[in-house]
């Protein structure tokens, strides 16, 4: 069998088997993984793409779904926010609730995924796979929201979720001895959006407040839509990092769509994109869809750098962020906050 004359144009870069060297630091390990295959290679590419984002004047959105804060990701998020490896966070309500919970002095606990759940219920323990928490302590966190925090707010205003969590971070900073997402984002002026805020313990606590105190606290969830589009329009370029999919991914993706409506079909799209997911494209859902699919919608730019890593984030992300901290720390200096203030003339909101 003869070799095709053009084969060398395609077979240009040999796989370089991963060499075990106990003295490699994590940055080097990941760089070496770029020359192997499958998801290891993709994880290594994510490190490179994130570094490219930091080098450019890129507004970096991070979408946070899954139960990652009870799983031990609070400090990672704090690190990313404080050191401005990210510029804007879109989260599920649950992750923000669990962050609040830890900052109020409570804990999540290691547990057995095969535990007897009826017994756990009887003892007031809530289970998140292999992680436990005290329901009684959760109620105290609920109470902090419904009986303390909400009374600090202007009762006649409909807040968008960015304003709401900014103020929560501010209040929490007064009492928390730990750094959390909310407090560090407050301090670093990193905006947090939570599009499905009602669908979480925070939503339940606000419902309790409305019911118990005969209030009607309202969110302006539509303002979030315009505001995130505004951030896109005020950015030279945008990049995205998704831990899981869900509402945070969709919401950050749709910010480009909304922005393109405002600019009348300008060619937009995120220019850098990383997703760590356990979902798959062939079920057709947004959580698992590829960035290639997103090109058709204009959510991702056709000239983007992009990678999907099929992995549990609790494996991939601690390595990725430590490698980033090792190899890209210098890139994070002098980053300004994203311009999320609404351009009122342009967007025409009532104040």
């Amino acid at each position: 069998m003869k070799k095709h004359p053009e084969i060398h144009k395609i077979l240009t870069t040999p796989i370089c088997p991963f060499r075990v060297d106990p003295n490699q630091n994590i940055d080097q390990i990941l760089k070496n993984m770029e020359h192997i295959s499958f998801q290891g290679r993709n994880l290594a590419r994510a490190l490179d793409i994130w570094k490219q984002m930091l080098k450019g004047k890129v507004t970096i959105f991070l979408g946070l779904s899954g139960a990652l804060i009870p799983a031990g990701f609070r400090e990672i998020m704090v690190y990313l926010i404080k050191n401005r490896y990210i510029d804007c966070l879109v989260s599920t309500g649950a992750n923000l609730f669990h962050d609040l919970h830890e900052c109020l002095g409570y804990y999540h606990f290691k547990g057995d995924p095969l535990a007897n759940d009826v017994e756990l219920k009887d003892k007031g323990i809530d289970r998140i796979y292999d992680t436990f928490a005290s329901e009684a302590e959760f109620r105290k966190t609920d109470d902090w929201v419904s009986d303390i925090f909400l009374f600090t707010l202007n009762q006649n205003k409909a807040y968008n979720t960015r304003e709401f969590f900014y103020l929560m971070g501010k209040e929490l900073s007064k009492v928390s001895k730990k750094d959390g997402i909310l407090t560090s984002a407050y301090k670093a002026k990193v905006p947090i959006y939570c599009p499905a805020v009602a669908d979480s313990s925070i939503g339940i606590s606000i419902a309790t407040y409305n019911r118990k105190f005969k209030k009607r606290f309202l969110f302006d969830v539509i303002a979030d839509v315009n505001e995130t589009a505004e951030i896109v329009l005020n950015s030279k370029a945008t990049g995205v990092i998704y831990l899981g999919g869900g509402v945070p991914k969709n919401f950050i993706q749709q910010a480009q769509v909304t922005a393109s409506f405002i600019l009348e079909d300008a060619e937009l799209g995120h220019k850098y994109a990383i997703q760590i997911t356990t979902d798959a494209p062939y079920w057709g859902g947004l959580s698992g869809c590829t960035f290639k699919e997103a090109l058709s919608w204009g959510k991702i730019h056709k000239k983007s750098m992009r990678v999907m890593i099929y992995s549990d984030a609790t494996i991939a992300f601690p390595f990725l962020v430590t490698a980033l901290a090792k190899g890209a720390k210098s890139l994070t200096k002098k980053r300004k906050p994203p311009q999320f203030k609404l351009d009122k003339e342009r967007l025409g909101f009532k104040s």
Copy 2:
């Protein structure tokens, strides 16, 4: 090797291999699958659990996530709503948008998942895995929301999502020649909740409306939380059917938590539970968590009937619903709408 004397207490029910009989109807096929193993058995159990729900005075919630309406599930949902196989729907905004789109006379199309997405973008085609749609037609549906429908609403009221989609179903009924989720739910008085409404094309359209017409349309998403808890409290028992996970699953699950806050820790929990999912429990997220885990939280009742089916809903659900229609049609008569009106004394809302 001797048999243990108690083995017969455990090995009671032989697997009965599935016999191929071309004259079996779909109801019989599913019944026979109850005696095989793995997910086939689970799908058969789902049929049985759903029948049990219909026999009892059970309020049945359905959580709809994933891209199932563009995938061809509109008529299935209409059937379930019209014939009251379900009593309350919680959906992503996207599915309701795609339902609206089809009811306004547009279509989704069969496509190739390997298509060139940059070319699709250039031709104005949006891709959802193997399904295509025209971006220009989507914009017309957007315009119907922002330029027509929203003007039919009371401008000074913050609607909850149930009210909003009820009114959308009402308006749509005037112009649509097809039955959709929105129109059939309007007619059958089946409430629809959409907790993450801002995170969808409907959210984008409302954002356009606010921006373009200098309005400030507000949702009362917290009212949804109290209202769904109220439905739980007004029901003798509740059952759940989840297609996928995401916000719809979490929101229906949390209705039990909110209800237990109102009733001061009464023993609540959904009594019947079915989920068809492609997620897995060991990633720790809510979408993939087992109903067994939900026992610890009290979201599912310890004496519940429950089953998880690990499958794409586009395979499992058409079979399941057709079997249900064949074998359980008589069970759907005389079901009343769920009591979703707020008990204002109790819940203390301002009107």
Copy 3:
């Protein structure tokens, strides 16, 4: 936004939402699923591809992996073999062992996947997810192989696995009151290959026989390789159906590679291909790789009809085969056995 003038060339075939009709038979249900999306559509395409295989003079290989026989698939396999919906079976040893077990009069049982496995062990119960069996009964099946069946064989011959299981089917036919894979394949002259036969309870039983009776029973596993290539070369066209992946998939795929070695790089490749799998392509393994990838190897022909269905076979296959039985029964007449006799001149084996 204007429509691109060529959009109608691409958006040609609307999704036709699945209508619930309790009077549809299973064949009609599947046909209607062809017009929806995602895996439902793929399952419907599988029905069509299988029918095309039956219409053509195609030798149909079925690769059987996973624990499908203990899961209740024995009768389905019997139906496919008897009625010649398939022409050649490649199986794991385990599935053939469990088939033998049922044909010797034993059963598998329904069980709880959450059972206490240490207690099961103490009671002599082996668990396969939600399926139980008696270890003592398994030992009786082991004994039938090691103490009875192996003594019926020519002690001085190295059998290939096709010969071995043909003779096992013959012996088993004398004692079994049930139809099984082995007996029906024996009767229908459908060859069975089991490339990893040592890796199963059958392998263990033969190891026992060799040890206990001081024998040295040898398999000629290489003959299987040449013989399956020969089947390919003697066929006008070949088609494949994979339930799961594993060795059966790889072995049937490689039959094309071996055949191309014999014919000196003729353009070969299976012309029809169906896989039902729960694996995914992005892990890089053969079990989950796409048929598109197989084009590069020449295992699948570039002009093939092919579909992957991401589903548990215990859901997808009973529906698919019943629909086939309903709609394609007439296509199975007059099919001859595959030509698996070795062309000794050509292949040059010693007898």
Copy 4:
């Protein structure tokens, strides 16, 4: 809500959020991951279990499936074999073929998973997801097996796969300038078993040899079964590490079953068990089944340490092995080869 008095007996160990410290070495990173949740915690537990295996007098089996050698794992395997982090390897034939290929001086290459596979075929390039190789070069490796290596063997002997690959390692050592699995296992006296050897390019090459040179090379695959059981019986304890599942996992698991037959139902079972897998338990197959399920069969000992890590090995394994090299190097000294010589009196083989 009051706390249950016993809650502190269960909530004993708080989750300790992962702190980003760029100066942590990989061993420390993994140790810190033990205090988070989900698969990150499991990966950390795997490190601990492997260290425990090394500390005890444990014979460590590694099962290697998936396309890990073309993916860049050759050097990792060499490291594990040379330094005796493992004592016995069970592999697919494909991985051994790709090891041989690299040792003969050829390469695998980085490629695009979205490449046009018909074009690749035309240019003689075989694709393994994102990894390419030259078909013409593969043929040269095939030729080395069929035209060179096989002629070095005793033509009248039926080898078991351990003997075969030992001799291949020996021959390859004479020509290879690289270390590979085969050569390093030969040198370190680490036995390699390949139960499905016919199902691979090595099987194809032997089939070519038999056909082309009118030979009848025979494997004694049953001897592998008895020999691995013998290794178990000659070990104080055994441990297992599975990369993927498939035949290697099943074969190592069944070694305990065969051993228990020989010892008449002694309480056996592997005492340490690690699996890195992308499969799931609820499909019922052996590849994805839990070690808990394996307790019922006696394959895993009831007092074992065990962990499943749901991850692509190309992510998890480079980190795990580097951490092991960092923190457990001293534990690998003075380990003897496993006793795999057959006790001929006891097992009764003919020579």
